[in-house]
Symmetry: C2
Subunit: 439 residues, 2 copies
């Protein structure tokens, strides 16, 4: 993509009403644009990151046998009356009256549609375990929409629902999803802590949150960094502040964003919707349910909260809008031609590249590149060509170096492709490269 | 995917309230499930088809330099008051009152958000032409939601908007999109006719519809099959019924579904939102706009209307939920093992396969396979193994034949991969194979 053609350019300064790092940086860098409080447009750069996050989520949900579906946002009010959540969640519901005076709710969650849907197909224990998920917009009339993408009124979510014939089967599956959630956050370049939490309006049973350490976090969490145990401050306080039971280390407080949560719903929704099955012994029993949520747009904001410096965003390669930021400096014919040649070659090699070919000063271009935060910056200039090369600098490193034209594609291949096969913490192009060079 | 694990099985009979071929077949085959009038769940099979359609749409929009974005569904009412469409489209608007008593509309279209969004970035003629699109849910309170996915209250749409410095530039781009729309329908296995149409509430200027011939169509269209000219009956009637001016042939009436439409909006929305630019000569002028819509969920329904027989759906390979329907007949150990072996091999070769390994009669399995409509059916049975092979039958052919195990993957490779490289009418596995065998 040529930067001059890209819809959604950088701005000189962040919008004055941005109340968080993610809103500031994502707006200033041209990823999102606010329409109203808690309601955002995703511009091409933001949409690309969102799709990369979605791809990671889909792969991890598919790996635990999740099947993707898509449920509607318009829910007949009767469904919400059935569970009583038309009253318990009344304050955040967007309601509408349609032709024929029927009332609908715009789904803030989908237990009320997924349970009757599952009831059409689950009849026997043989139909379970079953796990279905969707990536769908949620609508919640948050009284305090704030913190950019962290607390929105219209936001994206992956919500998965599982159905089981026994508590033991739910317990087993719940542990698998716990691992798959950790994988999602790790692959997005984040460290997550699993926290025991109260279920809120979604569950009477126990649940877990996945917390990411960031300064903008809404939650205060007590963690033992040694053994990875964490708890919500509200739960801990009633027990008084103790050292970690497991290892005896002292506990630390951290600000965190809740990036995902999982709930054992038990039979709350299956009871409400009469979702029953016939067991091996011929007995009719209620289905046991679990549900599992990750806010994909919130995750995008969380990554920015966790991965930035004073100059802008630092995208992990796995979710970066482009892998390479190619910058042309100068408008001399041979320099322009060489930069175009590198651009064409990268496109041909299917390396995602944003090519800044504008006639702007080095200062403007470097500032924009740092703000946008693409992991690897390649500069073609008169100076680099004197050494028959391209200047190579990673966003998270201070130093740059010249890579010869001849060696460029081999190094790129290694730095960029390497990460796709790793399921653990995705290294940046920089780290991978340094490992390679130090061999 | 093993059929026994798939969420969304076939039903014995279509739902009694289904009022169209697409609603009947898609529901009975387990692709969709109605939540309320004009509001549907997409089950895993339906979601897979929808994603294939979306991929084709994205590729064709990207080919005309469209950049993908995502705009919100919640629109502040003030935006709709600005264009006056809060009144002209009043009947179909879903409205809601949010906290602070603010009123919102759930977007039935996105001119009201895209125009002010573009205004933040378009300042000069150098910022154009620009084309941005999204695939997003639309909400329209249709008084007569009917015909399954053809006329819904909540439905998917790809909507693209283009911005130009001159009418000539819009005209050029409009012709390019016309071609890209024809490509989309062709790649989905459909014959489309381009029809001059009135713009309705979306446009004062002229516009074109893309009509697909189907018996369930809402529109009556007059076409000249010889030269491909078509017009809406309402427009033609005022002129009286003539022979085709161009070739003198007699005109035919056909029932059609409108599967896409394109509009020259001119300055209607840029005037309303003060979207102006500075031209080469320094003059400030209003931006000229076009907009281009394809209902992706409606397109899914249209394909079913156009591609089915008395036994079920006949998916074109390009949008089929799976390329191969693998059927195991019998539960003898060697037959089961061979079927499993073929299944594993297909998965390894990245051939999308739905494996019906249930312990059901051949009649049940064949009936389900015909209903679901996957293009290629492979049967592993005692009989086929006696000939050291697999029974090969295409959904749109009557005959079957035995393909040896040895020759199977080569034939599959040819039949299935061949279609991806073709940009013209995608052949079914059957047609491709027959061409191959007749060489």
């Amino acid at each position: 993509m040529k930067y001059s053609k890209l819809f959604g350019k950088t701005r000189h300064s962040p919008p004055c009403d941005a109340d968080s790092v993610n809103a500031k940086l994502l707006t200033q860098a041209g990823f999102i644009e606010k329409l109203a409080a808690g309601i955002y447009n995703f511009l091409p750069l933001g949409k690309r990151v969102l799709e990369k996050i979605n791809k990671i989520i889909r792969e991890e949900m598919d790996a635990v046998e999740g099947q993707e579906i898509l449920m509607p946002s318009l829910h007949p009010i009767e469904l919400w009356q059935t569970t009583g959540r038309d009253k318990t969640m009344d304050e955040i519901l967007y309601r509408t009256r349609a032709s024929g005076d029927k009332e609908f709710v715009f789904g803030p969650s989908h237990e009320e549609t997924v349970t009757p849907l599952a009831a059409k197909y689950i009849k026997s224990y043989k139909d379970m375990p079953l796990s279905i998920y969707q990536i769908q917009t949620k609508f919640r009339d948050e009284p305090r929409a704030k913190s950019g993408l962290l607390r929105g009124r219209e936001f994206g979510m992956k919500d998965m629902y599982s159905f089981h014939a026994s508590d033991e089967d739910l317990d087993d599956y719940y542990e698998k999803v716990k691992q798959s959630y950790s994988n999602v956050f790790t692959r997005c370049g984040l460290n997550s802590y699993i926290i025991e939490a109260s279920g809120g309006p979604f569950s009477d049973k126990y649940s877990h949150e996945f917390s990411i350490e960031t300064k903008a976090g809404e939650d205060t969490v007590i963690i033992c960094k040694k053994c990875g145990i964490a708890q919500n401050l509200e739960l801990v306080e009633v027990k008084s502040r103790l050292n970690c039971v497991k290892c005896g280390s002292s506990l630390e407080e951290m600000k965190a964003v809740e990036a995902g949560n999982i709930f054992k719903l038990g039979t709350r929704y299956s009871d409400a919707f009469n979702l029953k099955f016939t067991d091996k012994d011929g007995k009719v029993k209620p289905v046991i349910m679990g549900c599992y949520g990750i806010g994909n747009t919130r995750l995008l904001g969380t990554i920015v909260e966790a991965k930035h410096d004073e100059n802008g965003i630092i995208w992990p390669l796995s979710v970066a809008p482009y892998a390479v930021s190619l910058i042309l400096l100068g408008q001399e014919k041979d320099v322009v031609e060489k930069a175009e040649e590198v651009y064409e070659k990268l496109l041909k090699e299917n390396i995602e590249v944003l090519f800044d070919e504008r006639d702007e000063s080095p200062g403007v271009k470097f500032k924009d590149a740092d703000l946008i935060g693409i992991p690897l910056r390649l500069v073609v200039s008169k100076r680099s060509l004197e050494k028959d090369g391209v200047e190579w600098k990673e966003r998270d490193q201070k130093e740059s170096k010249i890579v010869t034209m001849k060696g460029l594609y081999k190094e790129l291949e290694f730095a960029l492709r390497g990460s796709h096969s790793l399921s653990s913490n995705p290294p940046t192009a920089g780290r991978l490269l340094h490992e390679f060079l130090n061999k």
